[in-house]
């Protein structure tokens, strides 16, 4: 793969937080091409969030700690640039929508413009970006509302719009929907599908395996700070180690329990086809 087409590269990366006894991630190597949509999954403490923090540069710039190996984001070593300098190109969405709005703005559209303003973008340009970002996530009709009056799902979309107004090339999402209801979740995933189609690289941490398989063409499974599988969801979830230590989508479990022969399906439509063939 030519270097110019990679968006995010981890080269033998290990990282331990300040005063932590054990490494949060150990010897991780990963290469993500421009335009990919990669899902990251694994049990609690697998190192998924740390992966996002490393890619953003928050680890080690914000947390200190010890970093070994190289994290290359958009062709630049993460050690060379601070988080704020990165912020024009890389965006990170956290799981709690409430902590991500600046808290300093009284209107949704002003909130979306917060980031570009920090970058000294001209007033006209800010207005254009705000309008574009709000339209992308579908919150244009909320422009005049107070951010604190929004529901969790709306707030998370607002947070995403705040990042999109920076026009990032790489989006990191750390369980962006884990605190949302199904309607809020569906809204976020719709937006992500659109962003993926427009060529933005997306790395998304997600617990719900069915959702993950439905959305992401590539899945990285992590356990205890290490990557144990990396590939298309059908491959990843047909591995025994993944099924045992990460879990598997309900369709995979059903096919296995029903005594169908592997490879087992990971998505609803594949499961329907596989079970359907047996019925026929």
């Amino acid at each position: 793969m030519a270097l110019s087409s990679t968006s995010l590269v981890f080269e033998n990366v290990s990282y331990a937080y300040e005063e932590a006894a054990r490494e949060a991630v150990s010897d991780i190597s990963l290469s993500i091409a421009v335009g990919e949509w990669v899902g990251v999954t694994g049990p609690t403490n697998a190192g998924k969030s740390t992966l996002c923090l490393l890619a953003m540069g928050l680890a080690p710039h914000f947390f200190g700690g010890r970093l070994k190996g190289r994290v290359v984001v958009l062709e630049k070593d993460s050690r060379e640039l601070s988080v704020i300098q990165r912020s024009a190109e890389v965006g990170l969405l956290f799981q709690n929508p409430f902590t991500q709005i600046s808290g300093a703005r009284e209107r949704v559209d002003d909130e979306v413009g917060f980031g570009p303003e920090c970058h000294g973008v001209s007033r006209l340009e800010v207005a254009a970006r705000v309008e574009e970002a709000m339209a992308l996530v579908g919150i244009s009709q909320l422009a005049a509302r107070h951010p604190m009056d929004l529901s969790g799902g709306q707030l998370q979309r607002l947070a995403l719009a705040g990042l999109l107004a920076m026009r990032p090339k790489l989006l990191l999402l750390d369980e962006p929907t884990s605190q949302l209801d199904p309607a809020g979740t569906a809204a976020i995933f719709d937006v992500l599908a659109g962003l993926h189609a427009s060529g933005i690289t997306i790395v998304m941490v997600e617990h719900r395996l069915e959702t993950l398989c439905e959305l992401c063409p590539r899945v990285v499974a992590m356990v205890a700070g290490r990557i144990i599988a990396d590939g298309p969801p059908d491959d990843v979830f047909n591995r025994e180690a993944v099924q045992l230590r990460v879990g598997s989508p309900v369709f995979t479990r059903l096919a296995r329990e029903a005594g169908l022969s592997p490879p087992w399906p990971v998505r609803l439509r594949d499961a329907t086809a596989v079970f359907g063939r047996r019925l026929a």
């Binding site: 808290g103 703005r105 009284e106 917060f114 970058h119 604190m148």
Partner: protein, 259 residues
């Protein structure tokens, strides 16, 4: 209360439209002169000017409701204490049984109460007609750092949010069996279980918010582009200087024997 912590109400009066710094200068100078002015007559004059402005801004009724609740107890307390006990007391005004009230003390109390009334009027005149976000924006355009501007703006938003959280925490702890009513020691014991979750989750949120802000470029040393221009005029600029200049002038007059 999610709309933020503010007394501002939309309006179209001259004061609503005035530059925030003009209103700020007016408020500060009115308060300072009320405390510099030597006698009840002068302070009363300032009070009347303030009331005219309040009426012009169309917020008289709101002001009276809030101000009365603050001023009434303080005025009564001042009159009761100073009329009874003040170093200048000489002339008996009246006696309530064994308690004797003096004219000098009552006059001092009245002057103090009037000055406080001017303070309250001037402050609310400003709060009622100025959007809180405009204050920090105006100050940021005059050199307040963006980081301090952020502190002021977000404090106004976070306070109501935190008070809501305090309500949720109270529900959660009561549901675990915590008594929040009853004797004073029992109520006092409930204080920490109600405060600690609030402080802990606020601090946890702080870490994530700090990261989220940096992710959006907060703290970049770039020249900030003003979000909007305030309507200003040469007249207002002159007025601001006059108002500010009036304060040292009043001090000088006082030193020169203004009685």
């Amino acid at each position: 209360m999610a709309g933020g912590l503010s007394l501002y109400a939309e309006g179209k009066s001259l004061l609503h439209r005035a530059h925030p710094l003009t209103k700020g200068a007016l408020t500060l100078s009115a308060i300072a002169i009320a405390f510099i002015a030597p006698s009840i007559g002068w302070v009363l004059g300032i009070g009347v000017i303030l009331l005219v402005l309040v009426t012009a801004a169309g917020v008289l009724r709101r002001l009276l409701a809030v101000a009365a609740a603050i001023l009434l107890p303080i005025t009564l307390l001042l009159l009761a204490v100073q009329g009874f006990a003040n170093a200048n007391n000489r002339t008996v005004a009246f006696a309530l049984g064994p308690i004797v009230y003096y004219r000098e003390g009552l006059a001092i109390a009245a002057l103090a109460a009037l000055r406080i009334a001017c303070l309250v009027c001037a402050t609310f005149l400003f709060s009622f007609t100025t959007r809180p976000a405009d204050i920090s924006e105006a100050l940021m355009q005059r050199g307040l750092s963006t980081r301090m501007g952020y502190v002021v703006q977000s404090a106004l938003q976070i306070i109501p949010q935190t008070l809501d959280m305090a309500g949720r925490i109270q529900d959660a702890q009561r549901a675990r069996g915590l008594e929040t009513e009853g004797s004073l020691p029992r109520r006092a014991r409930a204080y920490l279980p109600l405060m600690l979750p609030l402080v802990l989750s606020s601090l946890v949120a702080t870490q994530e918010r700090a990261m989220a802000l940096e992710v959006r470029g907060f703290g970049l040393p770039v020249k900030r582009v003003a979000r909007f221009e305030f309507a200003d005029s040469p007249l207002q600029r002159v007025l601001r200087w006059v108002l500010i200049g009036a304060v040292p002038a009043a001090i000088a007059a006082r030193l020169a024997g203004w009685r």
